[in-house]
């Protein structure tokens, strides 16, 4: 019995998804759970697994097409089976036409319209959807409409878009020193847009406060060194793994920090899931080390490494990036002494960690060489206060300074 596979909802605020690539062709055998296609959402590219076993009878949409969640993307059934496509598709709206451009360009430019778009939109003049005013303006200003991304409803190019396009990128010009420099205007990627909205909303709505401490890094760095001597190259434990583990244990001790503000109540999460900010091309993603308080350090390390790799390749699984209750952001690898992070809503706090630095420290009245690490917690004042955040930080510091507790 043929069944439609629908565009899955891969996040609570996902409204539509773009089919990036079919992993199985029409006619191929598919097992339940096998990866059928790659979907690009606002946040990431994720793999869609088949919900039933059978044969891929039909790709309902082509690669590059954006459809609302719940719309059929493929038909799976018995090999050679006759199926009523119309009945299976039901009365779903037609897919949104998507501008397709497979040629990677060095600087992201608005993608020009193609024959496919033209087909999807009937016979639009010039092959693009543009308001009459935008058309006239583009003609008057000599701006090719095909090179403009539309911001109006349904991707329509409106006056503003033409004006923006006409005002930049500015042409190459001479500067005082005679060097040619170009100004370019780069449209926001989906990820950049999401990060921007979420961070702006967090900074505007969450009353942040910050508490910083300095940690003696020598004990856990020594332990890490010993640990890594006996581990294979691809199993080595990072500084960040220690930090994640210590943060998780400290959170178990302070459930009010492992929490979310929810209007008239505070949700103290049962699980301690540590989000780890991973820089990806064009932005950052937070991969999630689940139950990090309970998992041994090597498991955390292996899992995080795999998720971070997937994130950097743009292939995260949905579960890789959801469900975090606290986030750790570490810029230590860039030789950063110390920084402050913006809370990742709806979490109540985020920890910003600098690099382990060798520096003179005072020990027993003597100045000696030591290793230090600075960490700053940003916390939501609606959920917690300075004293509690400071106590948490103290516990976190204590765990790292007595790292045996992280491994037993």
């Amino acid at each position: 019995m043929a069944e439609a596979v629908n565009m899955p909802k891969l996040g609570f605020d996902m409204a539509e998804g773009k089919l990036v690539r079919w992993m199985l062709s029409e006619g191929e055998r598919v097992e339940k759970g096998q990866v059928l296609a790659e979907i690009e959402t606002d946040k990431a590219t994720v793999e869609v697994e088949a919900s039933i076993s059978g044969t891929v009878l039909k790709h309902v949409i082509e690669e590059g097409t954006i459809v609302p969640i719940g719309n059929p993307i493929a038909i799976v059934g018995d090999e050679g089976e006759d199926f009523d496509l119309e009945a299976l598709l039901g009365s779903v709206p037609a897919p949104l036409p998507e501008v397709v451009n497979d040629t990677p360009s060095t600087s992201p430019q608005p993608e020009p319209a193609t024959a496919e778009l033209l087909e999807g939109n009937g016979k639009l003049p010039g092959g693009v959807r543009a308001s009459p005013l935008a058309r006239k303006l583009a003609k008057d200003l000599g701006v090719p409409l095909g090179a403009i991304a539309g911001s109006g409803s349904g991707g329509r190019i409106v006056k503003k878009d033409v004006e923006t396009a006409a005002s930049g990128p500015t042409s190459t010009r001479m500067t005082g020193s005679g060097i040619l420099r170009e100004t370019e205007r780069v449209p926001l990627s989906k990820l950049r847009g999401v990060i921007g909205r979420r961070m702006a909303s967090s900074k505007q709505q969450v009353p942040h406060f910050y508490v910083t401490t300095e940690i003696d890094a020598e004990p856990f760095m020594t332990m890490r060194k010993e640990y890594n001597e006996i581990l294979a190259e691809d199993e080595k434990i990072s500084v960040n793994d220690f930090i994640v583990k210590a943060a998780a244990l400290a959170l178990r001790e302070f459930p009010n920090i492992n929490a979310s503000f929810d209007g008239d109540s505070i949700v103290r999460h049962g699980d301690v899931n540590i989000g780890i900010a991973v820089a990806v091309p064009d932005g950052l993603l937070t991969v999630v080390a689940r139950d990090a308080d309970q998992k041994p350090l090597p498991s955390i390390s292996t899992e995080v490494r795999a998720m971070a790799e997937r994130a950097r390749e743009g292939k995260v699984h949905q579960e890789d990036i959801e469900g975090s209750t606290f986030t750790v952001s570490n810029l230590g690898m860039f030789d950063i002494d110390h920084f402050i992070a913006i809370i990742n809503p709806p979490e109540a706090a985020i920890l910003a960690v600098g690099g382990v630095q060798e520096r003179p420290v005072v020990r027993d009245g003597q100045i000696v060489a030591g290793m230090r690490l600075k960490a700053t917690i940003s916390a939501d004042h609606r959920v917690t206060d300075g004293a509690e955040a400071a106590q948490w930080l103290q516990s976190f510091k204590d765990l790292l300074e007595h790292p045996l507790r992280l491994v037993v």
């Binding site: 308001s131 009459p132 005013l133 935008a134 006239k136 409803s153 409106v158």
Partner: protein
Amino acid sequence: MAMITMREAISQALWEEMELDERVFIMGEEVGIWGGTYAVTRGFYDHFGADRVRDTPIAEGVIVGAANGAAMAGLRPVAELMTINFAFLAMDQIVNHSAKLRSMFGGQMSVPIVIRAVSGGGRQLGATHSQTPDVVFAHFPGLKVVAPGTPHDAKGLLKSAIRGEDPVMFIENATLYQTRGEVPEEEFLEPIGVSKVQRPGSDVTIISYSKMLQSSLQAAEKLSQEGIEAEVVDLRTLRPLDMGPIVESFKKTNRGVIAEEGWRSYGIGAEVSSRLYEEAFDFVDAPIQRVAQTEVPLPYNHDLEQMALPQVEDIIEAVKEVL
């Protein structure tokens, strides 16, 4: 300037024109001794007498028919229809006589009558007494159709209607009688067939008239709080329709919403948007939106009735749609 109600403004216009011109007289159901269903002609009977303030039988065909005859014979009748819904009973007189006699008989006579009719829903009067069929009358060449949205315009336009040579359907929205506005104390006229910007703005043009003018102005105030400045253009006259200020405004804002109380299909919004597409195509930056009544016979139940009628929020929503 005095702040007076729409009711007072209309009453003043009638009174002044009757004082100025002996040929002006009023006829209709309950207009005399009772003073009018909406109390517009209260006191007229005592002042002007039974000859000039005539109570009629409940027979709308007779009211308009007799007024047509009186107008052809040289008088200036103001015929009142208790509600515009009853104008359907006088449709032959209005459409086939008032509107056509002058052109059909080579200009031998004109028909300078004013038919005052009360339009609009929202008062729980049931489907047959709550219609806003203003556009029906605007369909016929030969009639002028005036529908003011402010006391100022009501007074100035009614005086012009009474003085003009052509038959005028003067449509008053029942829910506006208590609406107050500034009206000059000295004599003034407003020209028929001229649209007017009632509120300046730069982001979007809201086009409306009568009751929906007031709703549009309220919507514009709320939008202003969100930083959206709407220009509100009042049609004031449905026929002849003056597109000048509308096109001018639209060329500035490039975005339009038309709000009317009647049904959407074949309505004012259809006409105005069509003309905008014809006259200002190169200035269209988003599909023009129409706000109108849900296409059902208007329910009696209060909540359902309000749900069917276009509200301020609907206009705001439409504006956001086009922006």
